[in-house]
C-alpha cells in the first residue's frame, strides 16, 4: 500500500517565524489533503491539493505529483498555529492513508 512520510516529526518555533512541512508518498495519488488537528482533536481541512499550488492567507501548499511530495508553508506563525499537521493521500474517492504528522509548537 501507499506509504506516507512526514518531516520533521517535531518543530518548535518562535512566534513570527516561517516554517515548511514536508510530505513524501510512495505511489501516484489522486487525493492529497493537509489537515491541522487542534488541541481538541478536531481535524481541520487546510488544503485539498493533489497537484499544483494553493494559498489561503498565511498558509500555502504545493504538491509535485510527479516527484511524489507535497509541502505546506506557514508564514508569520502565530501561537494558534500550534498543533499536529497531517498529510493524507489516496487513490481518489476512497480511503486516505495518513502520515504520522508533524507536531508544531509556536512559542510566544
Amino acid at each position: 500500500g501507499i506509504q506516507v512520510e512526514q518531516s520533521p516529526p517535531d518543530l518548535i518555533l518562535q512566534e513570527g517565524a516561517n516554517s515548511t512541512l514536508r510530505c513524501n508518498f510512495s505511489d501516484s495519488v489522486n487525493n492529497l489533503q493537509w489537515f491541522h488537528q487542534n488541541p481538541w482533536g478536531q481535524l481541520i481541512n487546510l488544503f485539498y491539493i493533489p497537484s499544483g499550488t494553493k494559498q489561503n492567507g498565511r498558509l500555502s501548499a504545493t504538491t509535485v505529483a510527479t516527484e511524489r511530495y507535497s509541502l505546506l508553508y506557514i508564514s508569520s506563525s502565530q501561537t494558534t498555529d500550534s498543533g499536529v499537521y497531517f498529510c493524507a493521500v489516496g487513490p481518489g474517492a476512497q480511503k486516505l492513508v495518513f502520515g504520522q504528522g508533524t507536531r508544531l509548537t509556536i512559542n510566544p
Binding site: N31, Q42, N45, K95, V97, G101
Partner: protein
C-alpha cells in the same frame, strides 16, 4: 468540519461490552468513511461507504467490528466484546464539494476499562 456530527463524544465501557458509535454526515453526501486514531497506530482507515454499500471494509481490525449505513445517511459502527486495545478516537468523515475531499467529524473517544 462540513457539518459531520458524531455521538457520543465520549464513551467509557467495560471490557467485554458491546458499543455503538454513530455518525451523521451532511444530508445528500454519498460517501462516508470511518477511521480511528490511537496512540500507537496513528490515524487508520476502517471502512468506506458509497451510499448504503461498503466497497472497502479492509481496515476493520477483526470480526468484532462491523458497520452499517441506512438510507444513505446515518452510519453506525459497532464493536462487540470490546477489548482494551479498542480504546481510541473513532472519526467519521464525509465527502464535500470536491468529490475526493473528506471532512471529518469531531470524533468519539472510546475508553475500554
Amino acid at each position: 468540519g462540513a457539518g459531520v456530527s458524531q455521538s457520543p463524544s465520549n464513551k467509557v465501557t467495560e471490557k467485554g461490552k458491546d458499543v455503538e458509535l454513530r455518525c451523521d454526515p451532511i444530508s445528500g453526501h454519498t460517501a462516508l468513511y470511518w477511521y480511528r486514531q490511537s496512540l500507537g497506530q496513528g490515524l487508520e482507515f476502517l471502512i468506506y461507504f458509497q451510499g448504503n454499500s461498503a466497497p472497502d471494509k479492509s481496515g476493520l481490525p477483526s470480526d468484532r467490528f462491523s458497520a452499517e449505513r441506512t438510507g444513505g445517511s446515518v452510519s453506525t459502527l459497532t464493536i462487540q466484546r470490546t477489548q482494551q486495545e479498542d480504546s481510541a478516537v473513532y472519526l467519521c468523515a464525509g465527502d464535500g464539494t470536491s468529490v475526493n475531499e473528506q471532512f471529518f467529524g469531531p470524533g468519539t473517544r472510546l475508553t475500554v476499562l
